[in-house]
């Protein structure tokens, strides 16, 4: 702080006034600020020149402790405590999120999850070869490129690729309609080998992806040779696929869509179902979908897997209107997710859940029927572990996505005669398999197999 010149101090001292002091009464009123402005300025005038009265006022100040004790609790109440509380809460959430992410990556469970994903994918592919939704396109396209890049760079991936043909050959034994997804899956498995890696290519509706499928199909024709291709050739193939993927979708997309339609029209619905079941009954091919080399343990160390997961796993939130939203850029921008746009039809879903009891299936169908296909439910809670997303809301609406929200399936927890009622207010998954759901009607449902079967507590 700047100091005043010495002369000012001297003159202040010299200006001291002698004479009658201010009454104790008035000084008290001054200290307690109960004087009128006129009187106050008169007292101040005196105080400026009277060191004794200044001293009296200073000495007669009420104990400062009272002032602070009055203020301190208020400050604590409004600032410090909540700050600490929220700080602890935030820290807890961060720790849980980190531990959860690490656990998922380490978990050996993804094999079954992947198998389900492949089912989901196949069903989705046959069920809805419609024009793409705008929301999922850019991200998926980007990811395809990313994957293709990784493919070219990674030696480890190339090695895996060398082993691919074995499962793909078995896959080729089933009718041609099944080969497309199968081949695609092997490609996906080869490229990254993580649960995330598959997610972008699920988009059954993407022209670019169909282009890739076509390209991949031709690539697989090369692979159809009795011996596995050497890794160099494999690289070349995937490079080709990447090239095709980069072609602008204008004219190509038309062609591709017609192809897709042809694929869909050839097999009957039941055939698709049986094939789906066939797929699910082939553990080796299921594993090969994502973990091309076969044994899970071997596939896990592929470094591409972790990186891919980090890049793609979106954040989830529910907006004020109960709409589900996800963000691929750490929450900077949010896109609406329509669970009905990509939800599989009940018939296919039925096929999807072979483990369900007959009663549960019926209950499921009943529950599903009254719901209009395009009415978006009001969501109340969403939880995601990586790309395994669960969202719940009004009237028992429970949706599950295994691919970061690109595809959704509606799940109705039921056991024997009872089904879940009320609004879903809480979803909690300790790992991808074990979860707990709380409803507004006070019911608690648990699952130990990623939502295939449910137990009411």
């Amino acid at each position: 702080m700047q100091s005043v010149p010495q002369i000012v101090r001297d003159r202040l001292r010299a200006a001291a006034i002698e004479g009658a002091h201010v009454d104790a009464d008035v000084l008290t009123a001054f200290a307690e600020r109960s004087l009128s402005d006129r009187e106050r300025s008169r007292v101040l005038d005196h105080l400026a020149g009277c060191s004794e009265c200044r001293e009296v006022v200073a000495l007669a100040l009420p104990p400062s402790e009272t002032a602070t004790t009055v203020l301190t609790p208020a400050r604590r109440g409004w600032l410090s405590w909540p700050a600490f509380r929220w700080g602890f809460a935030a820290a807890g959430i961060v720790i849980i999120a980190v531990v959860g992410t690490v656990e998922i990556r380490r978990s050996s469970q993804p094999a079954t999850m992947v198998a389900k994903q492949s089912q989901n994918q196949n069903v989705g592919l046959f069920a809805q070869p419609q024009p793409p939704t705008n929301t999922s396109t850019p991200a998926d396209e980007r990811n395809e490129h990313k994957l293709a890049d990784k493919d070219l760079q990674s030696d480890g991936a190339a090695k895996e690729h060398a082993k691919v043909p074995e499962p793909s050959l078995t896959a080729r034994a089933i009718p041609p309609s099944a080969t497309i997804p199968q081949n695609r899956n092997t490609r996906d498995g080869r490229t990254v080998g993580g649960p995330i890696a598959g997610s972008p290519s699920y988009g059954p509706n993407m022209p670019t992806q169909f282009q890739q499928q076509m390209a991949q199909q031709s690539a697989n024709q090369l692979q159809a040779l009795p011996q596995p291709s050497p890794s160099g050739a494999a690289k070349q193939q995937s490079a080709d696929a990447f090239e095709v993927a980069k072609i602008p979708p204008s004219s190509q997309s038309v062609e591709v869509q017609s192809e897709a339609a042809a694929i869909q029209s050839s097999p009957s619905e039941t055939r698709a179902e049986t094939q789906t079941n066939q797929l699910s009954n082939q553990p080796s091919s299921r594993l090969s979908n994502y973990y091309a080399p076969g044994p899970i343990g071997k596939a896990k160390p592929a470094t591409g897997s972790g990186n891919g997961a980090e890049a793609v796993a979106p954040r989830w939130t529910i907006n004020s209107a109960g709409g589900l939203q996800r963000s691929f850029d750490q929450g900077n921008s949010w896109q609406d997710v329509d669970v009905n746009a990509t939800a599989a039809r009940p018939a296919e879903l039925k096929a999807m859940a072979p483990a369900k009891t007959e009663g549960a299936k019926e209950a499921y169908a009943e529950k599903k029927a009254p719901m209009a296909p395009n009415s978006a439910p009001v969501f109340r809670t969403v939880t995601a572990t990586g790309v395994d997303v669960w969202a719940g809301g009004s009237n028992g609406a429970l949706f599950h996505s295994l691919d970061g929200g690109n595809h959704w399936s509606r799940v109705v927890p039921s056991s024997f005669a009872s089904t879940l009622t009320g609004d879903i207010v809480g979803i909690e998954f300790t790992d991808p398999q074990h979860g707990k759901i709380a409803t507004s009607s006070g019911e608690v449902w648990t699952t130990a197999d990623d939502g295939v079967t449910w137990q009411k507590l």
Partner: protein, 301 residues
């Protein structure tokens, strides 16, 4: 006077009810007389009817009634007074005197004053009779204690022996510097002019900070503002004063540089330099121009 009387007539029932003076043994008439006396004293300050009304309504009539009932010697009032204020009074005294025995002495002497040991025309005169209810009774008691303490301190300050001082750790304390006439009378005039232009509050802040060495927190509490306000105010005042003194010196015919030099030169430092230079006969003749000048000026005087 008539304004006070009419307002008081109007307000008396309310004030009387609020004071609860009946329980204290104070008659309504004597309470009305006390209020009239206080109002009459205030009539110089509060002239309009609304001002008088506000004045009466802001009085702490309950505490006023208690104090005046005590002054009149009603035992019930004294009991209440002692219950409420005895402990607080000792605590306040301890805070002011900062030492137990001195605090007890201070508080006891105040009790004596409050009870009224001094007599006038055969009647005890209690100090409580001078309380007018403008501030809280507790605050008034603290102020009276502080006044008493300051009076004693000022009275006894000159009687402290050197032994006592050395016991307290103060040895060869420098004498209070007497205001030294400024080297140039124009400087003092300019400073007075700048100070006179300040508000009473600003001058009080300056005095409290630079003369009394009060802390920012103390000044803030005296004026009932935040500490940072005082800090900013002092900073602003220092800059403004400097600017205004320089301007005033300029008006008195000083060049900017002369004015700045005059302001910077601390007369006391100057004196010290002179003493030192006088003491050291053998000091080299390399005096600065200013010192030589000053010595020349001091020489004949």
């Amino acid at each position: 006077m008539s304004t006070v009387q009419s307002v008081l007539d109007d307000l008396l029932p309310d004030l009387h009810a609020k004071s609860g003076c009946e329980k204290l043994g104070l008659a309504r008439d004597s309470f009305a007389a006390i209020l009239l006396q206080i109002g009459a004293k205030q009539s110089a300050e509060a002239t309009s009817e609304s001002e008088v009304r506000t004045f009466f309504l802001t009085l702490r009539v309950d505490e006023l009634a208690l104090a005046r009932a005590c002054a009149a010697g009603h035992n019930a009032a004294w009991e209440i007074f002692l219950t409420r204020y005895r402990e607080k009074l000792y605590q306040s005294a301890l805070r002011i005197a900062r030492e137990d025995s001195a605090a007890r002495e201070l508080a006891d002497s105040l009790y004596a004053d409050l009870y009224g040991t001094s007599t006038r025309e055969g009647q005890r005169v209690s100090k409580l009779a001078s309380y007018t209810g403008r501030g809280s009774l507790e605050g008034w008691l603290r102020t009276v204690l502080a006044q008493e303490y300051v009076n004693r301190y000022r009275r006894t300050k000159r009687l402290v022996s050197l032994d006592e001082e050395s016991e307290e750790g103060i040895q060869f304390r420098a004498p209070e510097p007497d205001p030294v006439p400024a080297a140039d009378p124009r400087l003092a005039q300019a400073a007075d002019e700048a100070l006179a232009a300040l508000s009473a509050e600003d001058r009080t802040v300056l005095s409290a900070y630079y003369l009394d060495d009060r802390t920012l927190a103390e000044i803030a509490r005296i004026l009932g503002v935040h500490e940072s306000t005082i800090s900013r105010k002092l900073d602003k005042l220092a800059k403004a004063l400097r600017k205004q003194i320089l301007a005033a010196l300029g008006r008195r015919g000083m060049s900017r540089r002369q004015a700045e030099e005059a302001l910077e030169a601390d007369v006391r430092d100057l004196q010290l330099d002179i003493r030192r230079s006088l003491a050291q006969e053998s000091s080299p003749p390399a005096f600065s121009e200013k010192r030589v000048e000053t010595r020349v000026r001091e020489g004949p005087g």
